[in-house]
């Protein structure tokens, strides 16, 4: 069976080392927070200016001055800190964040990331913090479905959509397999409801099936 979005989030959470500083992108990556163990010591960064972000705020907790990067109301944990935007992005660009997790339209075999624009002529371009995160975090994890709605793989030899960052992705978590992207190519770490042979036949990227060391 392929994985549900919740199961994907669970698997990503499992791979985050205890004590990491982590940025969760807007959308599906946000769900990873639900699966972090309370004693993991993982600190969540939100690029609008906070470390130590807690769960979403509800009811009387909602404070319009306390939101995440998706502009949703959130809570603060003990030990949280606030800082302005230049500090928040210097923290990223300076390589202080351990992991950021983002969605993607495409990831290439060399870890190029495309997740901000489809290049459609009538689309309004919007990039937000994606390019800063892509080059700033020590590791970039991508969460996405492996195949687009039309069946085309989103793990590709080379991205056809405009890039967000070059050679930045180290892990790709999908509904049917997890991949590690390294200098030696793309390795299959784990599969879910699909055989390695089928994966290889459906993706135009050379795959190494040995487990990641």
């Amino acid at each position: 069976m392929s994985l549900s979005r919740r199961e994907m989030a669970e698997i990503v959470a499992r791979d985050i080392p205890d004590g990491s500083y982590v940025n969760l992108g807007i959308g599906q990556p946000t769900m990873v927070a639900d699966h972090l163990r309370p004693d993991s010591g993982v600190t969540l960064h939100t690029e609008n200016g906070m470390l130590g972000m807690g769960r979403p705020a509800t009811g009387g907790e909602i404070d319009p001055d306390l939101t995440n990067a998706g502009k949703q109301p959130v809570t603060e944990l003990p030990g949280a800190s606030y800082f302005h935007h230049a500090d928040s992005f210097a923290m990223m660009r300076g390589g202080h964040l351990d992991i950021c997790i983002m969605g993607a339209f495409q990831v290439s075999a060399t870890g190029d990331l495309a997740n901000w624009s489809t290049g459609a002529p009538d689309a309004i371009p919007a990039v937000g913090g994606a390019m800063d995160l892509a080059i700033g975090a020590k590791q970039v994890f991508v969460m996405m479905s492996l195949f687009a709605k039309d069946g085309q793989p989103k793990l590709v030899p080379e991205c056809t959509y405009p890039l967000t960052g070059r050679g930045c992705v180290s892990r790709v978590y999908t509904d049917v397999a997890t991949f590690a992207v390294g200098s030696d190519g793309v390795r299959i770490v784990e599969t879910f409801g699909i055989t390695v042979d089928e994966l290889i036949s459906r993706i135009g990227v050379p795959l190494v099936s040995s487990p990641f060391p």
Partner: protein
């Protein structure tokens, strides 16, 4: 100072830095006063391009903005900007969020330009100078200066020292340094000495005008 008097310094054609990330930290009352003041042909620098029908969106809807410099214009509730953009009635410069913050910081800190890895190898680096430093490609980015900055802080003292509240801080402190005239709307103004000097985020040297705006409890 009253909001209308504070923003009267803004002239047609000015570049106005507007704080806020979505509505958090958005100086809505100052923007309303700017709409009332009537200056047009403005370049607005802000993270977003307006949400809903208030604040920045209302300024756009009033037809006062020639160009928006921002990182993320397209949102579920950015219909005012979307309509103007699709009709070809507004220019857009998309800047990665961290570059936006750093270009503002550079302006405030007297930095002539800086090399950043953000955007290297992407269409947003097209036409820009690049340099390989220690084996990595960096892109040259220039400062963004404002004629006026409109920001929202939490509490000010009478000298203009500012403290902020939670994630509403966002662009306020960097924008305050990057404009010739900085106008801060605050929930409360206290006497000098009432704010702990250890917790002041924006020193008064960066703040020119204060506008108290009561917030509903």
């Amino acid at each position: 100072m009253e909001a209308g008097a504070a923003v009267s310094v803004i002239k047609d054609g000015d570049t106005v830095l507007v704080g806020g990330f979505g509505m958090a930290g958005m100086p809505v009352e100052l923007i309303d006063a700017l709409i009332g003041h009537g200056a047009g042909d403005l370049t607005i620098v802000s993270n977003n391009a307006g949400n809903g029908d208030t604040g920045l969106a209302a300024l756009l809807a009033a037809g006062r903005v020639r160009k928006v410099v921002c990182s993320f214009p397209r949102q579920a509730d950015s219909w005012v900007f979307d309509r103007l953009y699709r009709a070809g009635r507004i220019e857009l410069e998309v800047v990665p969020q961290g570059n936006l913050a750093e270009r503002l910081r550079a302006a405030g800190a007297g930095i002539g330009a800086f090399f950043t890895p953000t955007g290297a190898g992407t269409p947003l680096a097209d036409g820009k100078e690049s340099r390989v430093i220690d084996g990595r490609e960096y892109i040259l980015e220039y400062p963004i200066r404002g004629d006026v900055a409109l920001i929202r802080a939490h509490v000010a003292d009478r000298l203009g020292n500012l403290v902020y509240r939670k994630t509403a801080r966002n662009f306020g402190p960097v924008m305050a340094t990057a404009a010739a005239v900085t106008i801060a709307q605050v929930a409360r103004i206290v006497e000098a000495g009432e704010l702990d000097p250890e917790v002041i985020v924006t020193p008064a040297i960066y703040v020119d005008r204060l506008v108290p705006v009561e917030v509903p409890a």
